[in-house]
Amino acid sequence: MLLEQLINGITLGSIYAIVALGFTLVFGVLGIINMAHGEIFMFGAFVGVMVTSTLGWPIWMAFLAAIIVTAILGYMLERFALRPLRGKKGVSHLAPLISTIGVSILLENLSHHLFGAGNHPFKNAFAEIHFTIGSITIYVVQIVIFVISVVLMMALSYWLSKTRAGKALRATAENLDTASILGVNTRQIITLTVVMASAMGGIAGILVGMAFNSVNPQMGLSMGLKGLAIIILGGMGNVKGAMAGGLILGLAETLIVAYGDSGYRDAIAFLAIIVILLIRPQGLFGQKTSEGRP
C-alpha cells in the first residue's frame, strides 16, 4: 500500500517537476515570475484532448501538437506581454508580474469559451494496462510519464551544461548585460527561454491528461500555483531545486490524500510556500544572498 502510494507520488511529482522547470527557466533568465505558465500548460492539455479524442490521432501526435501550440503561445507571451516592458525606464518590477497575470486570466477564459467549462475526458490507448508485482499494481501510464519526465530533465540538464545555446542561456541568467557585451544575443536567448519553457508546459499538460484522464480550464491555475510553490521550495531559478521540489510536493500530496484529509491537498503547496519563505527564503537548494531578495 505504502509502496503503491509512493509510486503515485513519484508520478505526480515528476509532472510537477516539469511544470516547475518552465517557471524556473524563465525566472532564471528574466528574473520574472510567469504567472501565465499554468494556463499555457492547460492549453497543452486541451490540445491533447482535441488531438486524441476529437481527431482520434495517436498520443505521440498529441505531444507534437501540444509542443507546437504552446511554443507559439510562449512566443506570443514574450512578444506582447514581456518585450514591451523590457528596457523601458520607470517601469516597476511588478509590471511583468501583473502583465503575465493578465495573460493568465485571458487564456483561462479563452479556453472557457473555446472548450467549455467542465471536465473533458482524455483518451489514450493504454490507460488501463497495468501489471502487478506481489500486491502492488503499477500502471504502464505511470512508467511512461516517469520515463518521459526523466528523459526531459536529463536532456535539459545536458543542454544547459554542454551546448553553446545552453551556456549562452546560463550566461544570460547570470548577468544579462555582461552576456550581451560578450556577444550573446540576449534577445534571442530570452525568446528561446520563454518558448522552451512554454513547450515544456505543453508536454506537462499531456502528461497530466494521461495521468488523470480529465482536463478542465481551471487546472491551469491550480497547477500554476503549485509550480510557483515548488520553485520557491527548491530555490528560485534553480533547475535541480525545481526537480527535487516537484518530487517532494508530489509525494507529500499523495501521502496526505492516502493518510490524511484529501480536502486539504491543495493547501499543502501554499502552506509550504509560507513556511519556506519564513524559515529559508532562498529555498532548499538556493544560495543565500547578502542583498536579500530583489
Binding site: I33, A81, H93, V103, I105, L106, L225, L228, L271, R293
Partner: protein, 319 residues
C-alpha cells in the same frame, strides 16, 4: 414622487460600486508603500465569514459584527504581515496569493463552520434590518412614497456612501501626514528611507495591516449587502479583480483606485454583452496597461492638469 426615480437595480449597482471602491482602496494602501499584496481577497473572505457567522450564530448586531470582521482580518494581517515583510516585490505577491488560496481551501473544507462550497445563506441584510427597526419605530417607507425594496436599497447605498466618504477622507489625510510620507519614502527607495530614519518594518506592516482591515471591512459589508457568501466569492479571480481596480485606474493616487473600481463595476453592467467576456477583457486590460501606461489612467500629471484647467476656468469666469 421620489419613488419613481429610484430603480432598485441602479441602487444595487451603486452599492456594489461603493463596496468595490473600498476594495480598491485596500490594495491602494498597500501599494502606496510599494508592496503588492494579492491576499486581499483572502482578507475579504475572513471579514465576510467572521461577520456573517457572528450574526447568524450569536445574533450579534450587524454594526458590531462588521467591525469584528474587520478586526479579525486585521489580526490575521498582523500575523501574516510581520513575517511576510521579510519578503519584497514578487515574493510578497506570491506568498499573499498563497495565503488567499489557503484561506479559500479552509473555507471549503471546514464544513462544520462554513458549510463548505455551498456557502452561507440567510445572512441578515443591513437594509432589511433597518427596515425592521424603522417599522418598529412606527415609520413606514410608503409615507414618503417609497416601496419597501427601494427604501432598503436606498438606505444601504446611503450608509455605504457615508462609509466611503469617511474612509477616503481618512486616507487623504493620512497621505499628507507623517505616516503617508513614510509610505511614499519606502515606495521610492526602501534603503534610502531606512537611512533617513524611517522605521520601515513598522510602516510596511502598518500599510499591510491597513489593507487587510479595509478589505476585511469590505468583505463584511459585502456579506451583509448580499445576504449570501460562498468561497467562490473570494477566489483568485476576486484578487485579480481587486488588482485591476488599482492597475487600471492608477495605483499612484487614491483617485486612481476609486475611478478604477467605479469604471470596472459599471462597464459590465452598462455593456451587457461585455459581461460574458469580462475576464478576457480584464486580462487584455492588464497587458495593455502594463505596456502603455503602467501607472494607470489617472496619475499625478493628469491630476495637476485637471486642477490647472479648473483654476483657469475659475479665473476666466471672474474676468
Amino acid at each position: 414622487m421620489l419613488g419613481d426615480f429610484l430603480n432598485p437595480y441602479y441602487l444595487q449597482v451603486a452599492s456594489f460600486i461603493m463596496i468595490n471602491i473600498i476594495l480598491g482602496l485596500s490594495i491602494y494602501v498597500t501599494l502606496s508603500s510599494g508592496q503588492l499584496s494579492l491576499g486581499n481577497a483572502g482578507f475579504m473572505g475572513i471579514g465576510a465569514y467572521t461577520s456573517a457567522l457572528l450574526t447568524i450564530n450569536y445574533d450579534m448586531p450587524i454594526v458590531v459584527s462588521v467591525i469584528a470582521g474587520a478586526i479579525v482580518a486585521g489580526l490575521v494581517g498582523i500575523l501574516i504581515g510581520i513575517p511576510s515583510l521579510r519578503l519584497t516585490g514578487v515574493y510578497l505577491a506570491i506568498a499573499t496569493l498563497g495565503f488567499g488560496e489557503v484561506i479559500r481551501v479552509f473555507m471549503i473544507n471546514w464544513e462544520s463552520l462554513t458549510k463548505g462550497a455551498v456557502g452561507l445563506s440567510g445572512i441578515p441584510q443591513i437594509g432589511r434590518e433597518l427596515l425592521k427597526v424603522s417599522r418598529d419605530a412606527g415609520f413606514n417607507p410608503l409615507d414618503i412614497g417609497l416601496k419597501n425594496n427601494q427604501y432598503v436599497y436606498l438606505l444601504v447605498l446611503i450608509i455605504l456612501v457615508i462609509i466611503n466618504i469617511l474612509l477616503i477622507w481618512f486616507l487623504v489625510r493620512q497621505n499628507k501626514s507623517r505616516v503617508g510620507r513614510a509610505f511614499a519614502a519606502i515606495k521610492m527607495d526602501e534603503k534610502a528611507a531606512e537611512a533617513m530614519g524611517v522605521n520601515i518594518t513598522y510602516y510596511k506592516v502598518l500599510s499591510f495591516v491597513q489593507g487587510a482591515v479595509i478589505s476585511g471591512f469590505a468583505g463584511a459589508l459585502f456579506a451583509h449587502v448580499m445576504g449570501y457568501i460562498s468561497p467562490a466569492d473570494f477566489s483568485y479571480h476576486r484578487a485579480v479583480e481587486i488588482l485591476i481596480f488599482a492597475v487600471f485606474g492608477g495605483s499612484e493616487v487614491i483617485w486612481g483606485s476609486i475611478f478604477g473600481a467605479t469604471f470596472m463595476t459599471l462597464m459590465p453592467e452598462v455593456l451587457r454583452f461585455i459581461s460574458e467576456y469580462r475576464y478576457m477583457i480584464y486580462g487584455a486590460i492588464l497587458i495593455l496597461m502594463m505596456a502603455f501606461r503602467p501607472q494607470g489612467i489617472i496619475d499625478v500629471p493628469l491630476l495637476q492638469k485637471l486642477q490647472l484647467s479648473k483654476r483657469r476656468g475659475k479665473h476666466g469666469s471672474k474676468n
